[in-house]
Symmetry: C2
Subunit: 619 residues, 2 copies
């Protein structure tokens, strides 16, 4: 969360400047969540990219704990400081300023231009100090909402933020549902975990235990609680990196200017190590102390600690009921401050409320800080998720109409024929969303995909589908009962570790499931085994020892399972790969001739397709 | 690592007392690793259980960072404090005092009876304070070694310790290899990770930044650096619990005596939360400040930080070359301060040096602190690993001679027939060690097992085998080339995710591999598939959808794979389950008749068993 010092060259939005705006407030000032008012509020903000005539292309960026409004470009001069998320914002970047108008503002309580504890209290003419009222995330978002309204922006195309910024994104969607079309919430949570609370508690007690803090009224005393603030920041920096990245960056390396190990231990230096990691923490904390105010740190961390969606609204589900935005939840694999499980919890609650949500978990060896750097896929995900706007919006990739071979295309047609118009479909193992797009085109379906691959997720999202990047073997319990009209499992059941629980879940989620699979009883396989070999070829192209197909079975086996489980079978379509097999199916020898099988399973055990249907696939 | 305050009833060793002993030192005193001497050293220790006449039943317990000599029983009176590892030590417990003589001593630099910075410096008559020399783990172990020698103990049956105690165990084995028969190292590491260093660095800077620390000379000043020490301890306590356990214990619960949320924020109280987790950290740290000395904390954490086996000896492997003890490495699943990977690193290095090592990873939702509490399996593992001693030693479980059915027993006999006398064997998927025990009995082999199940590990270790509790799908690269005469994979290859890499590893580790598997080409399976069903029964008893057998293949397939991979096949034994199959094999139709197959694979591609051998299994 060191959002202040990227050193890379900015080739993006160029030289920018921070502007300030005085909020137009009622005479009593801005009433905060705590009940106390702030008489005046100033907001520091930056904007990049042209605002469209329809004013529909605004992307509002929420910064994290210690960030500021300077999110992209060079500040004030060509060699000025680079914005903290410059890699994400600019022409051709994840948030493309050729199409979008980006706004980022310093948060209330901060110390980077927006009113905070170090600002002058107009009632006393002195800095607020201890008189600054306690803050809530809601107050921060309200101030930004007033900023946008004063700028004439009624609705934003998207709100995006990571970490504490992600909490602001959630609050935007919760309390201004009509003003936010899409929300991107990265490495965040609906409330801090007990462990993250504990780190904040330690950090704050380091500051308030510093004799220079003076209960917050240190301004003008000639001393600041720098020592306590530095300690708090050191604790913070440990949590921003994954353990693995800390090992990679520092390991047990020593400083070059190492203290001689046999030096007489009579000074505090004796208990300073000469490890690189100590230099890093000292460097980071001393830089931080120069740019940040201890009271801001206390107020903002406390606002973060106190934010708790579940407590504010009864439960996280009750809260999310009011969300109208399309949501993208991004988790970072090695983040232990806002661990993936917390992002997943948000996504699950949105799912349970039937909201449009996508979830992905990026490989992020850096840990929490990865949301600030250009980790693989992050920009692509943001770009693919942002909406079209009148100024053009992002360039979509070529439509993904390529189908994997004829057999696959034929299967799509057959599935489409089984799906009613406007149905809601869930595609498990959806790949790049080819089937979802095909069904949307042919049947005007709305759907969601599930797949484990991040590249697939990006293609799906780019094509406008919601998608969860999860492993089906972990269960599908988070998808509500009857939330879809049809659940599809196309050529995937044989690679799942435990197929039966997945089948049961499908028929809980939807009244109907379409399952397709390779038929192990195809005569060519029978002949191969009869000759003493593990069958291979056709729909099962792999060697026995490296095949992903770990559960093999026949059409008869599958129908038996359905009967035992009390599932009905509405249709059984047998797909041959050649004329011989087609003939066998036509002669009624389905289990002998089918290379692949497509079965439409229902909850009603009385449904029994009298016989299989041959699907000639052109033969 | 709160080793001071168990509240449970002790039913173990009863009322005990801490003794002290003055070390007999040369006139110049004890020379420390830093080169400076300590003129006198006193050691506080406790003992329980009778010392055997042969003095061969001593278990030395190494305590962790802030522990002391009082490891079990009630101190001084029937309602005195309970020892910090009372659950492990006592009659009938993991370390059974009916058989073993337990010794535990406070470490050098501590503040619980052994000489430390708060002790009187005989040269000045004042507490050492800043004059106390820097310590190393080696100094701590040397003092304990001198203690044992003065107690007349030349060799210990085992040294055991967790966390920083585990580092002492490693140092014992490294520098006193002949004096330690077995070592148990729990939740420890050969050196701290960068992240763990960082936490210690923050903790020490909190203490040395406390104005009351006065560079260590605060004794007698009327004030102590309690505030800094408390902060250090709070950081420590966060790291001792897993994030999940912190959530389970505290979550976001509030204190009952909560500060009114609308209280005027004019005191430092304003930035104290009312979260339970804050109460916990404050309670723990205030207790700690009363019992522990800040200078001891500085010295001991620095000794821990500086310990680095790899740096001291060139590499961790070069270091471990000198170890003569049998070693048990115990990792704790949710420990993030000494994560399982670090324990595994120790085990791997021991393996690469060909040492007798077992490794297990216990389910430990508590995190690091779990080594102090009675988590499942911990006592069993310790009990099963401790050696027999003349006073009886631990009671071994009944010998595990039960074989799983006739087919299994027959397979054991066939494998034994292939194994030379005194061979070293590696049994992959060894279960409870039945085959290893059988081979040891029949062929006097020495062996190691690999299995994923902790119950199996305990049975194996109890039977005297080394064992690694790992998942074969993660690879076997840590087992050195040619470290065994034969690697066995009995009825397991079909459940491995990627069988081929495992086969290759087996023939890297040993010149010969014995692999047994169910033969998918048995005629009953052929008939079933010919009838349109996925084969089931005999050696493949599971349903297609819930079978652990995810890679099916035939005798011919396996031999083909061996040929393609350049492996030789020395013997192929075909095991029938009934008279018909036996007849088929006798007639030469091995692939048709065999229910199970046993193949002896070698590195020499020219070895080709001319034909299969029928193994009639009594038919």
């Amino acid at each position: 969360m060191d959002e202040s010092s990227p050193t890379e060259q900015s080739t993006g939005v160029g030289v920018v400047s921070t502007q300030t705006l005085q909020l137009e407030l009622p005479p009593e000032g801005l009433r905060l969540k705590c009940g106390r008012p702030l008489p005046t509020v100033q907001v520091a903000y930056e904007t990049y990219g042209a605002l469209s005539d329809a004013r529909d292309n605004v992307i509002f960026v929420c910064h994290a704990l210690t960030g500021d409004a300077h999110v992209a470009g060079r500040l004030d001069r060509p060699d000025g400081p680079v914005g903290w998320w410059d890699e994400m914002i600019g022409p051709g970047r994840g948030i493309d300023t050729d199409f979008y108008h980006v706004v980022c503002a310093n948060i209330l309580g901060g110390c980077r231009g927006t009113t905070g504890p170090a600002s002058i209290n107009p009632q006393t003419g002195q800095p607020y100090g201890s008189a600054f009222p306690p803050l809530a995330v809601e107050d921060i978002v309200d101030v930004h909402n007033r900023l946008l309204q004063q700028l004439g922006i009624e609705q934003v195309a998207a709100v995006i933020g990571g970490s504490f910024g992600g909490m602001q994104v959630l609050d935007w969607m919760l309390r201004y549902p009509e003003r936010v079309r899409r929300g991107i919430c990265i490495a965040s949570a609906g409330s801090l975990s007990a462990q993250a609370l504990a780190f904040d508690i330690v950090g704050r007690s380091a500051i308030t235990g510093d004799p220079n803090w003076k209960e917050g009224d240190y301004y003008g005393t000639g001393a600041t609680p720098a020592s306590g603030l530095a300690l708090a920041r050191k604790v913070g920096h440990i949590t921003y990196l994954s353990p693995g990245m800390m090992t990679d960056k520092f390991g047990r390396d020593r400083r070059l200017d190492a203290i001689a190990p046999d030096a007489e231990p009579t000074t505090p230096e004796a208990f300073r190590s000469n490890f690189q990691v100590e230099s890093y923490l000292e460097h980071q904390s001393s830089k931080f102390v120069q740019r940040f105010d201890a009271n801001s740190y206390l107020h903002i961390t406390q606002a973060m600690d106190e934010y708790e969606i579940a407590a504010n609204y009864g439960s996280i589900e009750e809260a999310f009921e009011r969300i109208r935005s399309k949501v993208m939840i991004v988790a970072l694999s090695e983040d232990w401050l806002f661990p993936p499980e917390q992002s997943w919890e948000i996504a699950r609650a949105l799912l349970r409320e039937g909201k449009a949500v996508s979830y992905c978990r990026l490989h992020a060896p850096h840990g929490h800080d990865a949301f600030l750097i250009d980790i693989e896929h992050m920009s692509e995900i943001v770009r693919s998720f942002l909406p079209w706007v009148t100024s053009g919006g992002h360039v979509k990739a070529a439509p993904h109409t390529t189908h994997r071979g004829d057999a696959r295309r034929r299967e799509f047609e057959l599935i489409a024929a089984m799906i009613p118009q406007n149905a809601r479909v869930l595609d498990l193992g959806c790949g790049g969303g080819e089937l979802l797009s095909y069904l949307r085109e042919k049947r005007h379906t709305a759907g969601m995909g599930v797949d484990i691959d991040i590249g697939h997720l990006i293609r799906c999202v780019d094509d406008g589908h919601d998608m969860l990047q999860i492993n089906m073997d972990d269960g599908l319990w988070m998808i509500p009962d009857n939330s879809y009209d049809c659940a599809i499992l196309s050529q995937t059941i044989q690679v799942i570790r435990r197929p039966l629980p997945v089948l049961r879940e499908m028929l809980r989620i939807a009244p109907e499931a379409i399952v397709s699979f390779p038929n192990f009883a195809n005569w060519t396989h029978r002949v191969q085994l009869a000759c003493g070999r593990m069958p291979k070829g056709g729909a099962l192209p792999f060697e026995w020892h490296d095949t992903p197909n770990i559960h093999l079975f026949t059409l008869l086996d599958f129908k038996d399972l359905c009967r035992r489980e009390g599932f009905g079978v509405r249709d059984t379509l047998c797909l041959p790969e050649n004329r011989v097999n087609a003939l066998l199916i036509r002669l009624g020898c389905c289990n002998l001739g089918a290379d692949r099988v497509l079965v439409r399973v229902t909850r009603n055990p009385d449904e029994r397709a009298g016989r299989c249907t041959a699907q000639m696939n052109g033969f």
